[in-house]
């Protein structure tokens, strides 16, 4: 349910692959304070989901090299994780697993 108060924004998040299993859903709408950055938003998702979800997104203080994040269907480079989100943003999270051998 979308609850958009003046001091917060609502961000739509879609989980793919094992992340959907950990989150127990493929999509959710999450309310966070305005000016929340993508990094803070991902940390918020870690807080509200089970422990294995955290392991999937991060190693120590770093987000995993194989975590792929899309904001409004555009891939976000790690250096852009500190940009603030906007109300209605669409975030897609993939645990990226590509092929393998040369």
């Amino acid at each position: 349910m979308r609850l958009n108060r003046s001091h917060e924004i609502v961000v739509r998040v879609r989980y793919f692959n094992i992340l959907a299993d950990y989150a127990g859903t493929k999509r959710a709408e999450v309310a966070v304070p305005i000016e929340t950055t993508l990094r803070a938003f991902l940390n918020h998702l870690i807080e509200i989901n089970p422990e294995p979800f955290r392991r999937a997104l991060s190693r120590g203080e770093m987000f995993s090299a194989y975590l792929r994040v899309f904001r409004n269907e555009r891939m976000v480079a790690p250096e852009d994780f500190d940009a603030p989100l906007a109300d209605g943003d669409d975030i897609m999270l993939f645990p990226a697993v590509a092929g393998g051998a040369a």
């Binding site: 299993d21 194989y66 792929r68 891939m75 993939f94 645990p95 697993v97 051998a101 040369a102």
Partner: protein
Amino acid sequence: MALTAHIELSSGAIQYSTTEPTLKRRFLGARGIGAKILFDRVGARISPFDSENCLIFTTGPFSGTPWPTASRYHVTFKSPATNAYGYANAGGHWGPELARAGFDAVIVTGRAASPVYLEIADRAIAIRPASHLWGLTTVATHEQLLGVEGPSGRNGRVLCIGLAGEKRARIAAIINDYGRAAARGGPGAVMGSKNLKAIHVRASGRGKTRADLATVARAMSKHLVDDPKLSGLRTDGTVILMRPKNMTGDLPAKNHQFGQVPFIDHVDAHALNRYRARRLGCAMCPVRCSRLSIVPDGDHASEVEGPEYETTDALGPMCWNHNPEVIIRANQLCNEYGLDTISTGVTVAFAMECHQRGVLADRDLSLEWGDAASILGLIEKIGRREGVGDVLAEGVQRAAQAIGRGAGEWALHVKGLELPRQEPRVAKGFGLGHATSNRGADHLYALPTIDVAGNLEAARTIFPTEIIEQLVDPADETYKPDMVIYGEHYCAVTDALGICKFSTTEEYSLLPDDLARGLRALGVEITGAALLEIGERIVNLERLYNVRAGFSRANDALPPRLTRERLVVCASETDPTTGMTRLGAPLREAQLFDFDAMLDRYYRLRGWDANGRPTRAALARLDLSAEGAEIVG
């Protein structure tokens, strides 16, 4: 103009011709030209070890140029593993050296009366006696031929076979540049059957570069360096996949009885990096995903290029082996004997499951899961064809037939080629790709990564908007055929150009239009769309080869375990006591719901009939009517 060399080992005759421009126009280079030559020269009645079988070494239009990742060569042959179309492909430095020596293709037929090697210099080839090399490891062979210059390249480049190839192990590879392998389908065995130990190439030419190509190549190289999708490959190489694949259930273990291991902390990139002496890269590669690993001392002291992901899973989790030093040592042994690490690991795992089920024993080795002595001992026995290794050297399909007692249920192969290291019940696009690949189970025939890599940008570029959400869901089978078909065409183009898929289909960093831009700088007027049509032509010609050999839909099948059994995927969590990763509660069951429906759509989209045979209309569209005339009527 580059040359095609025809070498008949039985008579010692060597002929040279200018490579036909029509051949390049229709099939581009490397894999495409190899496919056409094999199709024309090695018919259904020729067996893989007959002297009439060909070994066709080819380079592509980008080989010998500064194009980023232009390091690959291709070798095409009738496969002793599948008895059908076969090829292998490898990076390193040998391919560009061959191109700089002036050759598009080197076709080897016949059988030498005694061991020989080929010495290739600028536009000239000689057959030399190799009795002094026969029986040597691949490393020793390199050392003999390259002398003190070693891997520097100042004395040229070498490819060769080891003992496994000499003894015609059907899982034998060709090893080049000490630690690179053209591995799949048994090319080493074909080379051994011809008494051909090695090919030593020395080129003095600088290659076929042009100023405008250099400009485009620099831009593409920078693009690859800057692409964040390739950052994991740059920092850790392909073993970065170990951990996320374990998390998603896509890390085949215990011969695909499991898709995860409880010991991932021991075999992930972090663990393997402890043995990484330095990063390595192929010729012209800005990514440099490879590594030199050294185990300095102890029972498993070793030094080898690798291991990469496929090898790590095959010789690690597949055999329930959690010791990274054993993985590295096993990699080294495979290279020295000249064995395909994928097929060898799958074969060792097969033997261990046969033992688990009570149908196989060995007097020297326990064959227990994870037993280091058994893993290393079996590799030696396979390489030497000793004892149980003699039957295992035939690969799992033939070994299962020899062992009997239901062993076929545990033989993980397609068309006779051992399965690469994806779990088809989780990575369903790979499952379909393994099945449809014309060289047998192969992750690199389609490299369908778009869904599992979450490559939304590539999906949007290639596919209609309305199918993308389903297509990028690894569990959704609906549009996997669409993804596999596009991947097959683009992989064929990549192989035909002599470049690495890590620049193209792995992450779609470079797209067909980028490659066309490079070709135009070489004077070849072509578009990205036209390149993909050539890719489709190559795939259809390879399919025709197999149809002519009697292959059909029945051969596009996955092993029964993967279509009948469900795979439990567990949560990956932290053990609060040890801080180590462990497997927690089951999350879901992974399974292939309707593999036949995927295959039906795959055939329909290709314009093939329900039995997997190209139709006349499809062949006419691809300018393959002449090749198909006597096969599809």
